[in-house]
């Protein structure tokens, strides 16, 4: 039974998207319920993966192989290890929340919205599940299309089209370079099976070139500083649920790619380019934090804070030791939860007032305390105060980094202060202070639906901070294996 788990995870959203397509358009309630329930089913199914996962096995688990093109050694080869397990869980956890968050705010084209979300879920899960580079590539590209539609159709302003373009073109340029690298590997190995590629002997010069090609693809997705322009735009223009899935999952695809492919396949190049990455990430963290400080749009602030946190993640990955990588993974999970929560909070505000500019907010704690509380917990999580999930992640990353390069560790540790600055500034402006009655007359606290979205996220933020061991344990062997070059 458990063998069919991964195909089920991939196919069930597609199947339910087909079902949704059959429901008449005016029947929006049925469409919403149907897609929400099916995403919940996927989530529960993915929980069985967590239960059935064997922590003591370093091989890929739940392996399924379905031949695709005869004679080309390309197949739908699915399997997960400790690294991808939590990303899958994160994705399946966030998608039902996204459906809930768009319950009231998405009123036009509900059917298309649900279908593209379900297809997006399949593509993202496909990226995390697959053990074949070519299949990885095509899921990686295919998810552009539903995401393009989500930003371009369901965004709020007319600028959304520009944002959708930028998102698409940036990512496409990167992924086409990845296609070239993939072809080189495919032609050398005669197959695109990931595990075979791991055992491939690649000359140092070739490693450097391939690493650079993959670097562009993943750095766009992550994004790292010179290639980050699309992200704030996309975040601002996307609907709340789009931002959640973008911050929560899509940004991790790049980091996941770095770990799976750049680090595991090209150890020499990863070490060679280490200093380059460190400097880039240090610049990334400081620049993004400072930029976040001068933004006036709530979503942009959180977008830049995402960029800063992802800088930490990449530093952790390229510290190339077990601590650094595990810390990075934990930080990614934590950021996936916290940033999604923050975007959901912004969405809550936006649904009520239809503005995202800080200027119009103030003193919300007086009128909507439940919201103020949830926002506080998430902001604390964003600052990485001890007891929240980010604290564990960031401190382990710094442990790892200290072993590799002290100055970079010092710079990045120092910039946590900057993170504190913009997070507190944001909270202070929005929630504390005097109430601005001039702009808003009616306030409503979190509804039951919004509570049921936010509270699981708050719970996870604190739970991951208090019991990180539960999350780290399944990772140990897989991370150690990835560091050894997968052998």
């Amino acid at each position: 039974m458990i063998v069919y788990l991964l195909p089920f995870l991939l196919l069930f959203p597609v199947f339910s998207a087909m079902c949704v397509a059959l429901v008449p358009r005016h029947n929006t309630h049925t469409i919403r319920v149907l897609s929400f329930v099916s995403s919940l089913i996927v989530f529960i199914a993915s929980l069985t993966a967590l239960v059935a996962f064997d922590n003591k096995c370093e091989h890929f688990q739940f392996v399924t192989k379905i031949d695709w093109v005869y004679g080309s050694n390309v197949s739908f080869y699915l399997g997960i290890d400790g690294i991808s397990l939590f990303f899958i869980l994160l994705t399946t956890f966030l998608v039902p929340l996204c459906f809930l968050s768009g319950w009231k705010s998405v009123t036009k084209y509900v059917k298309e919205y649900c279908i593209s979300f379900l297809l997006l879920e399949t593509c993202v899960l496909g990226v995390f599940c697959t053990l074949d580079f070519l299949v990885f590539y095509f899921f990686f590209e295919a998810l552009l299309l539903p995401m393009f539609a989500l930003i371009g159709v369901f965004g709020a302003r007319s600028r959304k089209i520009k944002a959708a373009y930028q998102f698409f073109l940036y990512t496409l340029l990167g992924s086409l370079l990845m296609l070239l690298a993939l072809l080189v590997l495919y032609l050398q190995a005669g197959t695109s099976d990931y595990q075979v590629l791991l055992s491939l002997e690649i000359s140092n010069r070739k490693q450097l070139l391939l690493w650079l090609a993959l670097f562009v693809a993943f750095a766009v997705k992550v994004p790292l500083i010179p290639l980050h322009i699309w992200l704030p735009e996309a975040h601002v223009e996307a609907p709340t649920s789009g931002s959640v899935i973008l911050a929560g999952v899509l940004l991790k695809l790049g980091a996941y790619g770095f770990l799976r492919f750049s680090i595991a396949l090209f150890p020499f190049a990863s070490e060679y380019f280490g200093p380059f990455i460190y400097v880039l990430c240090a610049v990334n963290i400081v620049y993004a934090s400072l930029t976040a400080l001068r933004m006036v749009d709530l979503k942009k602030i959180i977008a830049y804070s995402s960029i800063a946190h992802i800088g930490f993640v990449i530093i952790g990955l390229f510290s190339l030791n077990v601590q650094g990588i595990e810390g990075a993974l934990l930080l990614m999970l934590s950021h996936g939860v916290v940033a999604s929560g923050l975007f959901l909070c912004v969405g809550v505000l936006y649904d009520r007032t239809h503005t995202r500019l800080i200027h119009y907010y103030g003193g919300l704690v007086l009128t909507i305390p439940l919201f103020a509380f949830s926002f506080l917990v998430l902001i604390i999580g964003n600052i990485s105060v001890p007891g929240t999930s980010s604290f564990v992640g960031e401190s382990i990353v710094l442990f790892g980094m200290l072993q590799t390069s002290t100055p970079i560790a010092v710079v990045s540790a120092g910039s946590i202060v900057l993170g504190t600055a913009y997070s507190l500034w944001l909270y202070n402006r929005v929630v504390l202070g005097s109430l601005k009655r001039k702009y808003t007359l009616f306030f409503a606290d979190l509804s039951r639906r919004e509570c049921s979205i936010l509270f699981p996220i708050l719970f996870l933020t604190l739970f991951m901070g208090l019991c990180p061991g539960l999350f780290l344990k399944p990772m140990h062997l897989s991370v150690a294996k990835a560091l050894r070059g997968g052998i």
């Binding site: 590539y137 590209e141 086409l176």
Partner: protein, 508 residues
Amino acid sequence: MMFYASFLEGFRLLNVEIFIAISTLALLLFGACYSTSTLKKYPLLIESVASVSLLALSCAFLLTGALPWVKHEHAFSKAFTVDSFTVSFKIIVLLGTLSSLAIATTYLKGKTLQAFEHVTLLLFATLGTLLIISSLDFITLYLSVEIQSLCFYVLAASKRRSEFSIEAGLKYFLLGAFSSTLLIIGISLVYCASGSFNFEIVSHASHQLSIESEGLLIAALKLRLLQLGTFFIAISILFKLHAIPFGVWAPDVYEGTPSAFTALFTIAPKVAFIGVFVKLLCLSFWDLFASLKCLLLFCSLLSLLIGALGSLAQRKVKRLLVYSSMSHVGFILTGLLVGSQCGIVGATLYVFIYAAISTHAFALLLSCTENEGLHSIKYTKDLSFLSQRNKALALSSSVLFISMIGLPPFIGFVGKFAVFQSAMLDTSLLPFVLLALISSVLTCFYYLRLIKIVHFSTLNARTALTLQAVGREKATLLGITFCFLLFGFWSPESLISWVETVVYLYFN
């Protein structure tokens, strides 16, 4: 008696072409007699002639399917050849023609172009195209190219009242005549050097010459002549494929040609000339390939870049489609210039997929007919808000554009992947591949713009018109090609193995 038997054998092998020729002549005769009948008050025969010719083409398609699936059989003293490679190309050409005729009939019925001669011309052009594919001799090649082109010139100018159409016909004629001249020069040079018109004999001669040219001055000279001839022939084929810089005329011609025939112009000649190019390369000029590589590289690079950049500035849908077909030709040439089996497989696969994609594109273009005055779409902005006017068309157009970009879940990716894969085998081509990649990102830009126009743009006074219901033939065609675009990606196996079998045949 011997001669008689081989003659009959020739009839058996070329039965498709002969069938089309006879049925076309019969139709012409029928039309000529019947349309001048005073008793019937000069009936318009377009409808009956079109349906009979659809039937004839379908029969020809079935006959092609029944042709022997073999390696090289010669007909009419080696003037023509029949083998699985040519049969495959014929199948694709016939499918393309069949669908373009099906697309065209409703258009022709509604327009002032109600002359049955157009349909017979289309059939003659098909005959020429099929003969191009099967020819094994430079003379038959030249003559069949002429049959095809002459019909095309007339078809391009068939909308007599339109300045655009006349311009298109004239331009097509002048430049087509020029390229025919180049073909003739090339053929005569090749004949000078090798003493034969037959592809296979030329191949032997060139092989012999390239061995002898080490020592013998005269052989070296002949080899040069042969190379020059090949060069000219290649240029004239590139003319027909409208690869830049030899295809700058294409946008004007395609724009002016009545939309019904543009589909035919895009699909049939391209498939046929790629087929004949591959055949020439494999059968005759394999030893001379190195001298052609430079030309191909140049053309392919220019086509990719001009195709991508030129289309950014276009406002008319047909011009846009021509520019996009230029960049597709660039990709096909990329496959050819690799010069290996793998590359030729890639190029052939790309051509076949391209034929399906452009059939879909033209069926879509002609389906978007507005109610008032049967006005078909001309400018890209006329497509705006298609998603509100006809959801199915909007969906299929998005799938079409995405497969033209070559993104994974659709069939376009298979072709692009095959071409890139073969190009990566040759490390010296790496910079070129990078440029091709950049150009494909550029093309993505305007396809996305089309998707944006279809889905995101708002209503204005012009686009508020409702669309006519899509006709039966076009709906069937759209459905079939849509399924191919959508599901072809998931099981490309049969297509790939088909192409591989027919191409490997020429190498072994």
